[in-house]
Amino acid sequence: MRQVLLRLAAALPTLCGVVVVTFLLTRVLPGDTATYFAGPTASAEAIEQIRRELGLDLPLPEQFWRYVVALTKGDLGMSLTTGQPVRAEIATRLPASAELTLCALVLAIAIAMPLGVLAAVRQGSLIDHACRVLTTAGVSLPVFFTGLLLVYVFYFVLGWMPAPLGRLDAFATAPPQVSGFYLIDTLLAGDTGTFRAAAAQIVLPATTLALFALAPIARITRASMLAVLGSEFIRTARASGLSGPTVVITYALRNALLPVVTVLGMVFSFLLGANVLVEKVFAWPGIGSYAVEALIASDFAPVQGFVLTMAVLYVLLNLGIDLLNRAIDPRARHGA
């Protein structure tokens, strides 16, 4: 527990840095907020008026001070495009992104890890070659392309999947929010019909993201398994006559998990990035598309809110990875 608190404390300077940098970045980015909102026909006075109202005429240090004071109260500002508080919007959109990303990650792990293990155990076999093809394809196909391809095939041509129009189709109503994950909230509400609708909506975008995440996971699993299978304690396990499954799973895989977990952390953060594109393709109401729209509109507050949320997520993610490593590796528990 103390370890966790220490780690969180150590992340504070990073988060402060992120606050400063996002603030400065949004100010130096091209595009003038006041001009954008005044509209193309506005007079110079009108623009000035808006600028004053938004506090954009104040000197930078003062703007920054106001921003930080608001932050400490948990206030992320208002979005000018939607007129909603940024915090509220992120709170509804983050679960959408998180649900999508986690589904994709679980799907990717469920396919890639067994594949990587089999490829390592049966080196040079058909499975090994299949693994190689899949990992090469996975890295060389851009996410928006696989997304569009899947939509074309499974919605347009085959008609197996619903239209790519967000988390639920127009006829379904969202479940009462508990976790913010539709797949969980619908079940909590006992509404299996909506659960099925939500599941149908998430299949294609999650598959798209999973295809992207497959390659690095399968590859590191295979490499890590190969390294462990060649190590001396596996020889001991075999020399002791331990059965195949015990050797491969209890002895090899558990040891091979350490680098895999680290890569999972990286893949998760790549996925957060890839989300932006997938959310666009599938009209997914997540924070990625929210941030992109705000960026195009030079709408500072949502962009700052987005970056800050991401930074906090990364810190938590790294903490999670660290805890997982400790759970697996007694040496890590001992060392720190």
């Binding site: 080196q123 001396e232 304690f233 001991t236 002791s240 331990l242 195949g244 558990r254 697996i328």
Partner: protein, 324 residues
Amino acid sequence: MSDALSVQDLSVAFHTRAGVVHALDRVSFTVGAGETLALVGESGSGKSVTAYAIMGLLEAAGQVTSGRALLGETDLLAASPASLARIRGKRVAMIFQNPRTALNPIRPVGTQIADVMRRHGGATWFNARARAIEALRAVGIPDPARRTRAYPFELSGGMCQRVMIAIAMAARPDLLIADEPTTGLDVTTQAVVMDLIAEMAAQTGMATILITHDLALAAERARRIAVMHAGHVVEVAETATLLARPMHPYSARLIAATPTAAGTLEELQSVPGALPDLRGAAIPACRYAARCDRRQADCGETLHPHEAEPGHSIACHHPLGVAA
């Protein structure tokens, strides 16, 4: 006395990118029940490959091309992978150099012992821990109940080797193959570990193959010694006979290069010349020929394995102590 293990004409080849390496060529020796046989030879002479071939642990590139390894009635080299897995750890066990890396780094040592006991029917889920504690006590680990929960990195090298011995002894095997079990341990610990192996062997009537490049250690611990050179067993004799009257020129060199006091010399590189290249077909029939000062024309034609006197075999055309 019946044999615990009889190895006959064992040949092993490695298929590598640089060609086929004939690592072992017609290796033969026997180990009597309860007996300790030492396999000695300089680094690269094929001692470990012999052990791995017997255990069925050769890596994919290595193939047994001829021979038998009879453990009682069973030919280990012809056994199916499934039946071999049932034999390993139960009837024949092995311990290794670097005991720390030979143990699973993230599994408590007691659990590792219990794994082997459960596998071979020596323990159930319910009594595995008690049995593991017992096993640790038997190899002289103090406070065994606490130590079952220790990880290898928390134990010294000597302690790890004791754990390895406990794992090897878990199912009371008929034969223990110890591949350089004391290399890398300090002198006192070496003696303690060797004593422990001897004690275990005496208690259970287990035979031991002691693999070492330390002839002094072999002389001290083994009843018989087999000398290996470049994948050949060049001489097998009772320890006293071999030390007093070596017949193969290589054995004689080896003995001359070993300090008389049971010392700690690590390397026996003072034998002049190097091991021949074991790739391809152009290996001389006697692989010691290039280094031998007794070499004659017939040496290059055939290997000449024979029993020079009862219980004393050599592979040489012109052995020492015999009129040439």
